[in-house]
């Protein structure tokens, strides 16, 4: 049996100390006075080699060789090897939450640097140490706005990720919260409809930037309108895009969240990912999640601690800002190291490449007969096209040709059955994009 160090001799000696002569007697003393379960559906243990061989076989049954144009909030970006090298250091990954600051300055300083990175990208004052993912982060932002405004209504654009929206619907189902979902449409009046829905009862308006269709919008008018009604403005955003786009903090958003998978974290079939959240100084003490702060030790030496902990469950219990305890700390470290490797110019280069390649892909694909553009020219690295038939069927045919051609929107938007959402990252080459267009033409 691996991973257990006690030998039979050790066990005998320890039994003597605790006054037992068998494990069954030990259980009895511990108040477990019934027989063990048979567990007869389980197999015997395997060696490391056998487990590795089995899991290699399972890995081979996943088709990661498809040329990937699938995004919808989760993107296939380049990850430098240096990132995994650092997060693979067991001083980081085998540590617990840094509650003992003297024994955890490494993790603590990394969290502080991560928080600083998120603030610099979003244009806000304070970020937390991470939440589970983009969807839970957005729900937490909505709850936070409710605490601040003491209102129970949230106005949310349908151009926010449907994956996030259905999570918010699930979490809200037993709560006294009124969710008003405002149709996105393809015209420019979507923002007007959103503003019209904000009233004196609204806790917050929730939008996405760029939105789920890849469209970039200016939000100053909406945030100002929300503030005039006493509501907060909440935005979920794509961190890579923030290298080139106006930061949400400058557009008047009070709480900014997002899915951090795109900054250095592998797709890994849905997780672990990274929910990030930032807010203004005014609302710092209403924010959920751990926060690392800078202070000094007894000798006046600089160092870091977890701070403002009275917001959290281990102190405030039922009236905490959130129930979150474990977060995605190692993913926050991953994002931090990625952002350091990319650096100021590197992240801009990645963002520009994504946008240029997406624009190229769109113009190539729009050359195909029967394919029409949906939405305007202001998009980041993802765009929508309309096909002559059911997009889901087309995507099925494209898989047979070796492409994950995009995400058919009909799954979440019944009126967009023929529409396909295509994402392009810096990984995709001109040849792959041309091949996608050729294959698409062939299957249509």
């Amino acid at each position: 049996m691996p991973y257990i160090a006690n030998t039979e001799a050790d066990v005998r000696e320890m039994f003597k100390t605790i006054g037992c002569d068998s494990f069954e007697q030990m259980w009895e003393k511990a108040q477990i006075k019934f027989p063990p379960p048979s567990l007869d559906t389980l197999h015997s243990g395997l060696s490391e080699y056998e487990v590795v061989r089995h899991l290699n076989e399972l890995a081979a049954r996943n088709a990661t060789q498809l040329v990937n144009f699938l995004g919808a909030g989760y993107y296939d970006h380049i990850i430098p090897a240096a990132v995994g090298e650092i997060t693979g250091r067991s001083e980081f990954y085998t540590a617990y939450t840094p509650y003992q600051p003297e024994a955890s300055q490494g993790t603590l300083q990394a969290i502080y640097e991560y928080q600083s990175m998120i603030c610099r990208l979003t244009g806000l004052f304070v970020a937390n140490a991470s939440l589970y993912d983009g969807g839970t982060a957005l729900f937490e932002a909505m709850m936070m706005a409710g605490r601040i405004t003491r209102r129970r209504q949230a106005v949310i654009s349908e151009a926010v990720s449907p994956i996030f929206r259905r999570m918010i619907e699930c979490y809200s189902s037993n709560l006294d919260i009124e969710l008003i979902q405002v149709p996105s449409g393809t015209d420019d009046s979507a923002q007007q409809r959103l503003m019209a829905a904000i009233t004196e009862n609204t806790a917050c308006v929730i939008v996405q930037y760029p939105n789920v269709f890849g469209t970039i919008e200016a939000w100053e008018e909406v945030t100002a309108h929300a503030h005039a009604k006493g509501a907060l403005a909440v935005c979920s955003c794509y961190p890579v895009a923030l290298a080139v786009l106006t930061p949400p903090g400058e557009m008047g958003f009070d709480i900014v969240t997002g899915e951090g998978q795109s900054i250095g974290i592998p797709l890994s079939f849905g997780g672990p990912y990274l929910g990030f959240m930032a807010t203004t100084e005014k609302y710092m003490r209403k924010m959920p999640g751990r926060i690392c702060g800078r202070t000094v030790d007894l000798d006046g030496k600089d160092g870091f601690v977890l701070t403002l902990q009275t917001r959290e469950q281990h102190i405030r219990r039922a009236s905490a800002m959130s129930n979150i305890c474990s977060n995605e700390s190692l993913c926050a470290l991953t994002a931090l190291v990625y952002l350091c490797c990319m650096g100021r110019q590197g992240l801009i280069d990645v963002a520009e490449l994504c946008a240029a390649k997406a624009a190229f892909a769109r113009s190539e694909i729009l050359k195909i007969d029967g394919v029409k553009p949906v939405g305007g020219e202001a998009f980041f690295n993802e765009f929508v096209i309309s096909l002559p038939g059911d997009a889901a069927e087309v995507v099925g045919k494209m898989i047979d040709k070796g492409f994950a051609a995009g995400f058919p929107l009909g799954r979440y938007y019944p009126d967009r059955k023929n529409q396909l959402l295509i994402a392009v990252t810096e990984k995709r080459t001109r040849e792959e994009i041309k091949a996608l267009a050729n294959a698409l033409e062939a299957v249509l």
Partner: protein, 483 residues
């Protein structure tokens, strides 16, 4: 140590990115562009590596030090798990792929991992099914109490708005119940550290949705009345939630489903040996008895008669979507590897040795430290530094003195019902030799408390920083370097 921002030099690069191979189209209109670039650091790859390597050396981890942190199960994390999680066939797999037509056939390996891990876990917990989706322990608690709410709603029993929670519980229990919309009521513990049955009976009634009980409890004790507690709650029409944070104590030996619990979460980052990551990511699958199966979150992974796996969404009573996809897959994958290695016999050897190691520490330290509940313990033992406090040495001081001696401290000041608590959880992976050395250090500290308490009060002195000014951190928060 300097912040990464302060070693930044304009023009330095830490990565190479492919050159543009498409015409520059400048797709993003000028009016949407940020006026000033985000001030990310400009550092070389070597500087990145050196900075973070230096930071890592300011940490204690399971791989560097004995880490007997109570209620956290800081066991060894096998190294091959990390390699498996990095296999491109798993790491590069897009979560939306199986949702595309013909896409399910392309993700059979990943779906198999989720399905088979769920099946093994269900057997170990004694439940009909599990959801692997919850992303951490507290997320599992939230999912679990939402299942309880869905059950009562389906029974048209709308009055059940109260969740009972023992006073020894982790803070996440009342917090999770509150996030799910419940009011919480605290139940007292009796003089032996069990749930006070009289207090429980007093609070049961038609408004009670359920009870959240940690089993074994947070004092490291197996509540001798656990079956009776479940019976009483059921009799009153409530459901029983088991917080499985301490599942390492009973894995392979006791199945909570057999005790009468209806729903529970386990922390894969505790019992199933996935790394804690400096605070996460975790994974908190939830197991349920038959009557709660219809309410499990969607999607669910099923196995067809031809042996292939599929994602199913057609569960009309489901509570809905609690995670973006199928859970923290990378964590589930590591836990699956661990389950396969342990096998039927291995699980029970885990709990046997975890309980043995904890009781060995308890018996050897009993002459030196007080115990509020002098009982045979499970996988962790709780001392109370009351004897040391008389000399001016608090649990916090003992914790810091342990750091100087090369040990990560136990959990301190929890459970809240034990004054000056020191909660020690050695886990099964530590050797008797390591445990003996730790015991010697604890005894030495106890003795020094008598002779030289000042030295304990001044600890730690060997660390990169001494005790931190936490009051200053909270009064005038400095929480980011904005550049």
């Amino acid at each position: 140590m300097k912040l990464i921002f302060s070693i930044s030099r304009s023009g330095r690069r830490g990565s190479s990115i492919p050159k543009a191979d498409v015409p520059e189209m400048n797709a993003i209109p000028q009016r949407f562009r940020r006026k000033k670039s985000a001030e990310l650091p400009e550092v070389s790859e070597q500087e990145v590596i050196r900075h973070f390597t230096a930071l890592s050396r300011k940490n204690m981890g399971v791989d560097t030090n004995f880490y007997p942190l109570g209620s956290c199960t800081m066991k060894y994390n096998p190294k091959f798990h990390e390699r498996i999680a990095a296999l491109p066939g798993f790491a590069e797999l897009h979560p939306l792929l199986p949702q595309l037509r013909h896409g399910g056939a392309l993700t059979q390996g990943a779906l198999a991992v989720i399905y088979e891990a769920e099946r093994i876990l269900s057997e170990l917990l004694g439940f009909s099914a599990c959801t692997m989706q919850p992303l951490a322990g507290a997320h599992g608690e939230l999912a679990g109490v939402m299942l309880i709410a869905a059950y009562h709603k389906a029974c048209k029993d709308d009055k059940r708005k109260v969740m009972l929670i023992p006073d020894a519980a982790h803070g996440t229990n009342p917090a999770s119940a509150a996030v799910a919309g419940f009011d919480t009521v605290e139940i007292a513990s009796d003089s032996e550290g069990n749930v006070d049955l009289e207090d429980l009976k007093k609070h049961l009634g038609p408004e009670v949705a359920g009870l959240m009980l940690t089993c074994p409890n947070t004092l490291g004790l197996f509540d001798r009345n656990v079956k009776e507690i479940c019976r009483l709650v059921h009799e009153a029409g409530g459901l029983c939630y088991c917080d499985g944070a301490n599942f390492n104590a009973i894995i392979g030996r006791v199945r909570p489903g057999d005790l009468g619990f209806d729903v529970m979460h386990v922390n894969l980052h505790k019992t199933f040996s996935t790394p804690h990551g400096g605070g996460g990511p975790g994974s908190g699958p939830v197991g349920v008895a038959e009557k709660l199966v219809p309410y499990l979150p969607v999607s669910r992974v099923t196995k067809r008669s031809d042996g292939t796996y599929a994602l199913e969404y057609d569960y009309p009573d489901s509570i809905g979507y609690i995670a973006p996809f199928y859970g923290n897959f990378g964590i589930i994958l590591r836990a699956y590897a661990y389950m396969l290695t342990l096998g039927r016999e291995g699980f029970r050897r885990v709990s046997e040795n975890a309980v043995l190691n904890a009781n060995y520490i308890r018996c050897r330290l009993a002459p030196y430290y007080d115990q509020k509940y002098d009982r045979f313990s499970m996988h962790e033992c709780v001392f109370s530094a009351t004897r040391q406090v008389a000399k001016g040495v608090h649990a916090l001081d003992i914790a810091k003195a342990l750091i100087d001696r090369g040990y990560h401290p136990p959990t301190i000041y929890f459970p809240l019902i034990v004054p000056e608590a020191l909660m020690i959880e050695p886990t099964e992976t530590e050797s008797k030799d390591t445990i003996d050395s730790f015991i010697e250090a604890m005894i030495e500290i106890a003795k020094m408390t008598e002779t030289n308490p000042e030295q304990i009060q001044q600890a730690p002195v060997t660390t990169p920083v001494k005790r931190m000014d936490e009051t200053r951190a909270a009064r005038t928060p400095v929480v980011a370097d904005l550049g």
